[in-house]
């Protein structure tokens, strides 16, 4: 038989350990307060990660996304985006997530002889058409918003 009723509880922290724990706790709690606030400074309003704005994933808007590239010789070619990537990425494109749009356009620029790539997003519930153009070699796509005539 085991003589003790329970094993002894974990020892309480000493003064030094308590100070170290307090510093860690303060930093951890502060970070948790600050990270959601970064949403207010984000360029991409669709990016709600780590903010607790919603406990669900953002709903996918009903949008039509098309893309094309311009070659060095001036010719334009359509890109069948839905054949290139998983459909979940199409949802991000429809939500105009800049990180995904930039990455996709950058990837198309990796092919030989590509001068620029363009992505156009038309959503059913918006009058605006969003165009993202990346000149190959650039870092970020340039966004243009056009208001479509009804």
């Amino acid at each position: 038989m085991v003589s003790s009723e329970t094993e002894p509880p974990p020892a309480g922290p000493s003064g030094k350990a308590r100070r170290r724990s307090t510093a860690f706790i303060a930093a951890f709690v502060l970070l948790q307060f600050l990270i959601p606030l970064t949403y207010l400074a984000r360029e991409d309003a669709a990016d709600e990660r780590f903010t607790w704005r919603s406990l669900s994933e953002a709903a996918a808007p009903s949008c039509e996304t098309s893309a094309s590239l311009e070659r060095d010789d001036g010719t334009r070619e359509a890109i069948l985006v839905e054949k290139l990537i998983h459909r979940d990425w199409m949802t991000y494109l429809a939500q105009r997530r800049r990180a995904v749009i930039d990455a996709l356009l950058q990837k198309q620029c990796e092919a030989d002889g590509v001068l620029s790539v363009e992505l156009v997003n038309r959503c059913a519930d918006e009058r605006d058409v969003h165009e993202f153009t990346l000149r190959c070699g650039g870092e970020r796509a340039h966004e243009t918003v056009r208001t479509a005539a009804r």
Binding site: S21, T22, R49, F50, L84, A99, L104
Partner: protein, 377 residues
Amino acid sequence: MKPVEQYWFGNVALARPYLLLRLVLVLLAFDTWLNMMPEGAKYGVGAFNVAHFPWFDGFVPSSGFYLGVMAFTGVLALSQALYRPHRIAIVLIALGYTLGWSCSLLDSVPYHYLLSLYLLCFVFFPMLSARSAFSRSERVPQGSVAAYVLFCVTTAIVYFYVAAWSAARGESYWLPMTCCVGYLLVSMQDRVQLPAVRILAPMLVAAPLTFHLATPQPGWLPLYMAGIALIVFAPMQWVHSFGRALTQPARGLLDEGEADETGLDERASQVFYLSLFGLVVAPMLSMFVDLPGVKTGCSLTAIAMLVVMGRQLYFTPRWRPLWRVASLFGGCLALLVTMSASNARFDYYREGALDADRRGDQDAATMFQQKAERYAP
């Protein structure tokens, strides 16, 4: 102690961190297998990926990589829940789980990020045995567990922001705000002598239960949060009695097994070789799971277990390595049974077939389709 220090370092019933750690690890194991692994076919498609953090730039996780990480995390989590957890293992679970969601925006489920925060708190939890968390009498063992209070405060911050953003949108915010206040107060209930607090604090459990069970929420979030709320808010005696009943068989087994063991004897070497044999054999169960990356994931779990056991494998009470190996066996077996008894494997292959077909990749579509037919319910 100053009042602030009393808040963080005051006593709590040890039954709470004991049960909380195991509840989250068990749910996390089955959550990764049943909800995350079926999504694995999306990874690596078209060699395109965007990660949550810039340090993954240029890295495209394949479906095998993702499934391997999930299998590793799930098996290790369940094995740690089955037998006394080890801090190194909790660190590895936290790293594996965080790697799983953070390597791609394809997983943007908000509560996965919350679970990573929880796992970080667990790293600093005391690794309690059943005998240290539960007594045989009505006396409830207590101790200072700052990480448990941090866990409650982390949860409170989440509810605070849910309430704040709701208020900013002009929506109702009183329920998440009540949850926030509840979690901030309730970690003190075990040490406050005022009867009013001891009676009122458990009643606050109604707020998180209503918030999570009354409105539709993604995945297993309601399950996690309802379970957590019940352990955190329930009266101390209830949690202790529940935990004591739950761990009764394990405590009895350990008492009998370790009662007359004080050191090494000639059987120690047999146990050592038996443990090593078990570590080699347990991951072999994953061969029957038939998903890419799972064999590697389970083999890595066995290696992680070897690291966790370390010196313990050769020294100190000799049954412990065998219990650890048995828990690894339990984890691998549970993965196999879960995959065989659920639609997770079928969903993985069906989703892969549908997407490959849509992209016009006929070879991949045929391969996925054949597997999906094999595992169709």
